[in-house]
């Protein structure tokens, strides 16, 4: 081995990774692709918050609004696909550009599926309204548990969208670090639903609420998947399926 193996400090990206091409149109094309995905992400955050509000406030009109707006995220994902094809065909991206295009394509899929989960929660909220017989279905305790899970899932998702704006490894790591709290909130909600016979829920209603809890947890998981892609772009390392604790420790050790 005659080459250098000298270790140097990891440089944090200080410039926009999509920029700096001699052909400035290329910068614009990558920025456009990312901008579509950021738009999708912002819509999904709104959709999720509205869907959870529809559920815990038992507000049908909110649920219908979520379902009406769902196709907008799908249409944006089609736009993102078209941009991905266009960039690959015209620019033949390599290295970090190739990683950006591949990652943004996968992120678009994650965001689109997170949007589906928000719509699922809205549909379940409507189903609950149809099942409802007497009195308040979602008790105060359940409402608080849903709100806690929603806060964690939406916080992770919002952070993941922000991480995409600058392919920020530090933000991506923060999302990984939030996973245990997400899982704990989901587990607490599941336990509450399992023991909710005394709250007057029939099994079918409990199962519907359980599906909502699962959908919220999955939105948090989509955020983690997006964070993995952010790290892939920034560091060129595929960190899927790696031990999270060691991964976080390693990257923190390198100053992230």
């Amino acid at each position: 081995m005659e080459s250098s193996t000298s270790d140097t400090t990891l440089a944090k990206p200080t410039v926009d990774l999509t920029g700096g091409h001699t052909v400035r149109r290329y910068d614009q094309e990558l920025a456009k692709l990312r901008s579509i995905i950021l738009q999708m992400g912002e819509r999904v955050i709104d959709q999720t918050q509205a869907a959870v509000a529809a559920l815990i406030e038992e507000d049908e009109s909110q649920a219908y609004r979520v379902l009406d707006r769902e196709p907008l995220v799908d249409y944006l994902s089609l736009d993102a696909d078209e941009e991905v094809f266009r960039v690959i065909a015209r620019r033949q991206p390599t290295a970090v550009d190739l990683r950006i295009v591949l990652a943004l394509s996968k992120i678009a899929g994650e965001v689109e599926r997170a949007g589906d989960k928000a719509a699922r929660i809205a549909r379940q909220a409507l189903e609950l309204r149809q099942q409802e017989t007497d009195g308040v279905l979602v008790t105060e305790a359940l409402r608080e548990a849903f709100q806690a899970l929603d806060d964690k899932a939406c916080c992770m998702f919002e952070r993941s969208v922000h991480a995409v704006t600058t392919f920020d490894v530090t933000q991506a790591l923060a999302i990984f670090e939030n996973e245990p709290a997400l899982y704990a909130a989901a587990q607490a909600l599941r336990e509450q639903l399992s023991a909710s016979g005394s709250d007057g829920l029939v099994p079918r209603q409990a199962i519907t609420l359980f599906h909502c809890a699962q959908a919220l947890k999955h939105i948090g998981s989509h955020a983690s998947n997006i964070a993995e892609q952010v790290i892939y772009v920034a560091l060129g390392q595929d960190v899927r399926y790696r031990n999270r604790e060691i991964l976080i420790e390693t990257l923190r050790h390198h100053g992230y």
Binding site: S3, T8, R99
Partner: protein, 288 residues
């Protein structure tokens, strides 16, 4: 591509080495392993000066057996100069001075006792612009073996010409007009004729200096297919300005910048995750 075992190991450990992550290195040190397990040529600490101007700065690099090594970099980075050191073509340039060590199969090619003429048969060269001799197609291929005394009679020479033209993928196109001028062929055919001429003297290494830059995409594809076939029998070093070509044809890629060898590595790695920022900036079109 990681093996399953490597993937599982990463799953278990989650660890990423510093070497995996580092992007910024001292500019004077080459990133990546310049050596190969089975080298045909070994270059160590090669410096080249044109008069007082240093064109190559301490470059070390191996060329492996049966591999295609591509050399990329902006104009003036020294990649063609380095290529021309490999068969002493720079000897013909006044004021050019080469130091360091360049060996072909353990033989120092700059040894004062070594005759550069047979060396240039062992390490053949194909140039940017096809340059057939103003002779017949047959004579273009037969000339080298004849002056090097590689055949004993006409039948052997005929066979060698045919074999060389077949290896260069040109035989079927020219077998009925071997007596016609080589210069009458198309650009792509002329370049394959030059490759046949190089092959005819049984080289170990073929150097190619932008061999497709004067060719259309179809002729380029034919040459690239030929390069892939020739790899079975020869070591090939190619200088190209087409990064897509480097990505398509080579197993290893070396990136030069201002006379330094900045990075060398598996072509897949160089084009998906180069370790040096200069390499990344160049191959992604951010300067140059």
């Amino acid at each position: 591509m990681n093996t399953l075992v490597e993937t599982m190991d990463k799953t278990t450990t989650g660890a990423i080495s510093s070497a995996d992550l580092a992007k910024d290195r001292p500019s004077s040190a080459t990133v990546g392993d310049v050596t190969v397990a089975d080298p045909r040529m070994t270059c160590r600490s090669v410096d080249v000066w044109y008069g007082a101007k240093q064109a190559i700065k301490g470059v070390s690099l191996d060329i492996g057996k049966n591999e295609v090594l591509s050399m990329i970099g902006p104009s003036g980075c020294g990649k063609s100069t380095f290529l021309r050191c490999l068969n002493r073509m720079n000897d013909t340039i006044d004021g050019c001075r080469v130091t360091g060590s360049i060996k072909l199969d353990e033989q120092d090619i700059y040894d004062k006792s070594l005759d550069p003429v047979p060396l240039r048969a062992q390490v053949g060269m194909v140039f940017q612009k096809p340059n057939p001799f103003p002779k017949s197609i047959y004579e273009n291929v037969a000339y080298g073996p004849r002056i090097h005394g590689l055949t004993n009679n006409k039948a052997e020479l005929d066979e060698l010409v045919e074999t060389s033209l077949r290896k260069a993928g040109l035989w079927n196109e020219v077998k009925d007009r071997l007596d016609q001028p080589g210069t009458g062929l198309s650009g792509g055919q002329q370049q394959r004729l030059c490759i046949a001429r190089t092959i005819a003297v049984s080289p170990e290494v073929i150097l190619m200096d932008e061999p497709c830059s004067a060719l259309d995409p179809i002729a380029t594809a034919i040459i690239e297919e030929l390069i892939d076939e020739l790899r079975a029998n020869y070591s090939i070093a190619i200088v190209t300005h087409s990064m897509q070509q480097a990505a398509r044809v080579s197993q290893r890629t070396a990136y030069f910048h201002l006379g330094d060898l900045i990075e060398v590595g598996e072509t897949n790695q160089i084009f998906t995750n180069p370790q040096h920022k200069l390499t990344e900036d160049y191959i992604t079109g951010r300067f140059g």
